[in-house]
Symmetry: C2
Subunit: 208 residues, 2 copies
DNA sequence: CATCGATTTTGATGTAAGACAAATTTTCGA
DNA sequence: TCGAAAATTTGTCTTACATCAAAATCGATG
């Protein structure tokens, strides 16, 4: 398809075709083909939001009221332990973000979600999501598959933290998520790994 | 309802009523009311299995082919790290057990699941489960809700491991899962917490 | 481009927990 | 019920990492 052809296509896209341009919809559709009704519903309900670096997507004590797909940027979630901010994880473009505990059980969050860069997301509210689960049965498959995927990733982080030296943990991150080590602050990475930032700095300066 | 009444009831239970006596079915039904068709399907497919202490429910390299609900007993899952068995978690009566990564993605397991006591379970195969998801839409809700619940619990364990002293970790376990500290071996608990067993023994002998 | 604040690095010292070893207690099968 | 094996406790020495402190580097802003 040449560029003229593609430009022309855009002028004559049907409503459904335009919805399908959305990265999130493509992800969902790859899990299970979405009905036209569901596509229209999602198109109506998905909201674009942007955040500046340092801005909070979710504050402590708030109920996580929406689920967001990151189009661009990186965020971190953290919680307080003895007054210190402890990073629980980093999420970036292509990831679906929520505070797991708060969203699933609709209780006030212990976690804070913070934009580390300029961030843009597609968001859908808890209520709209529940409505979609109720009225478009195939959407439950998306929910289940995505939950399973993030659950598996969470377990992997759990293994990573257990019975490993600080060096091993940092190199795990470097291997599996090199971009995080580039885009996040040293101190934020350190609390994720569970070492203090001076130790992490020393690990990082070691050759091999 | 007095005991005579209840004994008489048992003699005249319908097929559906008998299925409903199953603890697992009750759990599922409390999440979403199960249709009669689904109840019959589950009744036909659920299989009872028992294991002796030390017996393996899932071996390394096997694909986790069934999901099991524990009726009685306690199991632990572990994986190998440099030849050492590292406990990933303990599960007991009332819990649903699988190797998360292996079952969801149907790939060979890194995890081993081992009975620590005499264990009895209700099991259903991966294929039968997928069939149920396909043909009984309400069953997807059960799958989603249970996955969410176990995901939240897994995240809690993650928080617990991060940025805590060995003492804090042990006391977390003592607080939240006192029966595990009673029923599991010291060495198995130690690898879960991420300390060596001598250290755990010393923590345990401390007052407070 | 000079300056202030944030972030990262480097240094010196203390401590919790690991490693290894051996003694003690518990468990369980013959 | 006895004895062997498994599990747990106790002892001592070593080490990786924490803590506190200060210097160096980076990055945004007037």
């Amino acid at each position: 398809m040449n560029s003229t052809q593609s430009r022309q296509d855009n002028l004559f896209l049907t409503k459904i075709e335009r919805v399908m341009n959305n990265q999130l919809i493509q992800l969902l559709n790859s899990i299970v083909p979405l009905s036209e009704g569901l596509l229209e519903f999602l198109n109506a309900k998905l909201e674009n939001r942007t955040y500046e670096p340092g801005e909070l997507l979710l504050k402590e004590g708030q109920i996580s009221s929406f689920i967001a797909f990151i189009e661009k940027g990186i965020v971190r979630s953290y919680y307080y332990k003895d007054g210190e901010k402890i990073t629980s994880w980093f999420m970036k473009e292509g990831d679906v973000i929520i505070s797991v505990a708060s969203f699933f059980s609709q209780t006030p969050s212990n976690e804070v979600i913070e934009a580390l860069e300029k961030v843009s997301v597609h968001a859908i509210s808890y209520e709209d999501l529940q409505y979609a689960y109720m009225h478009f049965p195939e959407f439950n498959v998306c929910g289940r598959v995505l939950t399973e995927k993030y659950y598996v990733m969470s377990e992997e982080r759990l293994y990573m933290l257990r019975k490993r030296t600080s060096k091993e943990k940092y190199h795990y991150l470097l291997d599996k998520h090199p971009d995080i080590t580039q885009r996040a602050r040293l101190g934020d990475i350190a609390t994720f790994i569970g070492v203090n930032l001076e130790t992490l700095s020393r690990i990082r300066s070691e050759k091999i």
